[in-house]
Amino acid sequence: MTTVETATGPAKTMVLNMGPQHPSTHGVLRILLELDGETIVKAIPDLGYLHTGIEKTCEAKTYSQAITLTDRIDYLAPLSNNLGYCLAVEKLLGLEVPKRAQYIRVLLAEMTRIASHLVWLGTHAIDLGAMSVFLYCFREREEILKIFEMVAGQRMMTSYFRIGGLALEPPTGWLRAVDRFVRMMPGRVDDYETLLTENRIWMARTQGVGRINLEDAIALSMTGPALRAAGLPYDNRKLFPYSSYEEFDFIVPVRTESDCYARYMIRIAEMRESLKIIRQAMDKIPAEGPIRTEAPGIVPPGREKMKTEMEALIYHFKIFTEGFSPAPGEAYVTIESPRGELGVFVASDGTPKPLRVHFRTPSFVNLQSLPKMVEGQMIADVIACIGTIDIVLGEVDR
């Protein structure tokens, strides 16, 4: 506690505890707010309430088994985590994924981006009082989850991307469901904009709130929509393309006001760009082709081959009992997850289990900027700022 100068003389500040149980912290986040009346003097986040030791557990699993753990990190964009991890291990092994699998990965990654942004918009809006938006966003997200269930068998924790490609062949007719979604969605995004973009209450709660200048943002390693709202068009899909993103035509929305409203506008625009990418991916995906690369001893053979060929059976057995051992080395891959730059660092020591897996999660790093955004503003603005950074506690704590 410190003493601050107020209009009526020196006064002591008050420390208020926010969380870890709080409907608006989007998970178990605890923030200590040092207040001068309603103005924030200092904000100190306290993390770790959702720490489950995912990185340590990955060291006890084989490279393939660890994929199921990655879903749980950013649990609102599980396919994004799968993609980052698989790309890192594929780099470690020097594997080239077939184009068909790459295009399907792009399509599903962009659907994940939309699903994640829908949750973000719904929860951010309901925190600031716009309750209907929450229900509309979740109604659309339901369609996306149905498609994930169709393809991967699972709505959320999909574990659909595997080392070398995909887990399963997608079912026939799945692109019709994607097409229905892509035709329906633009009108729905227009609906959200009708409710919020020119809404006086929304603008009053988000414009000018949570400003951070570009220099501070880069210094604090901020990435994702928040960095793009500060004026820098930094997007891993454009600057360091992965999984054939360089073949897709889309823009990266950028703004300069760097407040909550700018981040809102960027994420809405990103949803539209993702729909563009999905439409292009639908046209690009060949009707037939391998979904996994050929790498005996690393990528399991197809079921038919395994049941008829002796070598394939032995490879299958060895892969699922012993696992495969990459040559010792390290790989670091960054992808553009809905929240920002997701980095996966994998270190191998020549054994079937990874020596170290580290997830550089955007929510953890972006949350570091919260005190800067929030100091000098009011308590209600803290809610807006937490929402605008778009954090997922599973990612923050791992």
């Binding site: 770790g48 600057l239 360091f240 390290e330 790989a331 660092f345 790093v365």
Partner: protein
């Protein structure tokens, strides 16, 4: 370990060596990724040079993490993943500290974003960073004993 290429094609390594020949102990190239191994004493100076030199401009610290190489020494291998936004370039900076004295310089004066990353390495590995303004545990409770991500800490068990 992957090949140690002393004569590297890496321009970054050449720039660093022309600034200070002792800065780069070795260069590792692996699947297109360049790793520069830097001695512990020159870590902060090299970090500053990487950020400020007009040929390098690595202004974004993407990630900072640690690998425990137990029982090999030096035990704790610190890895810094740097991105130069304007030059569209990436590099990995590596510096190792021994297990009996796991202390390194903090790079928060160069990239403030390292603040929480170094706290996490301190919390889970026990490496101390001199010059860090607020070095305390971040993910585990303040009264937790031990550093779980060390290789000699069990995956499961009871206290």
């Amino acid at each position: 370990m992957a090949d140690n290429i002393q004569q590297s094609t890496s321009l970054v390594a050449e720039h660093l060596r022309s600034w200070n020949p002792k800065a780069v102990e070795s260069v590792i190239e692996f699947h297109g990724e360049i790793t520069l191994v830097v001695p512990r004493e020159l870590l902060r100076a090299t970090a500053e040079h990487l950020r400020d030199d007009s040929n390098l401009l690595f202004n974004l610290l993407s990630d900072m993490t640690c690998v425990d190489r137990f029982p090999a020494e030096p035990r704790f291998e610190l890895n810094y993943h740097l991105t130069s936004i304007s030059r569209r370039d990436k590099v990995r900076l590596r510096s190792s500290v021994p297990g009996d004295n796991p202390v390194a310089d903090s790079v928060t004066s160069v990239w403030p974003g390292a603040g929480w990353m170094e706290r996490e390495v301190f919390d889970l590995f026990g490496v101390r960073f001199t010059g860090h303004a607020d070095l305390r545990r971040i993910l585990l409770p303040d009264d937790w004993e031990g550093h779980p991500l060390r290789r000699d800490f069990p995956v499961e068990g009871q206290r």
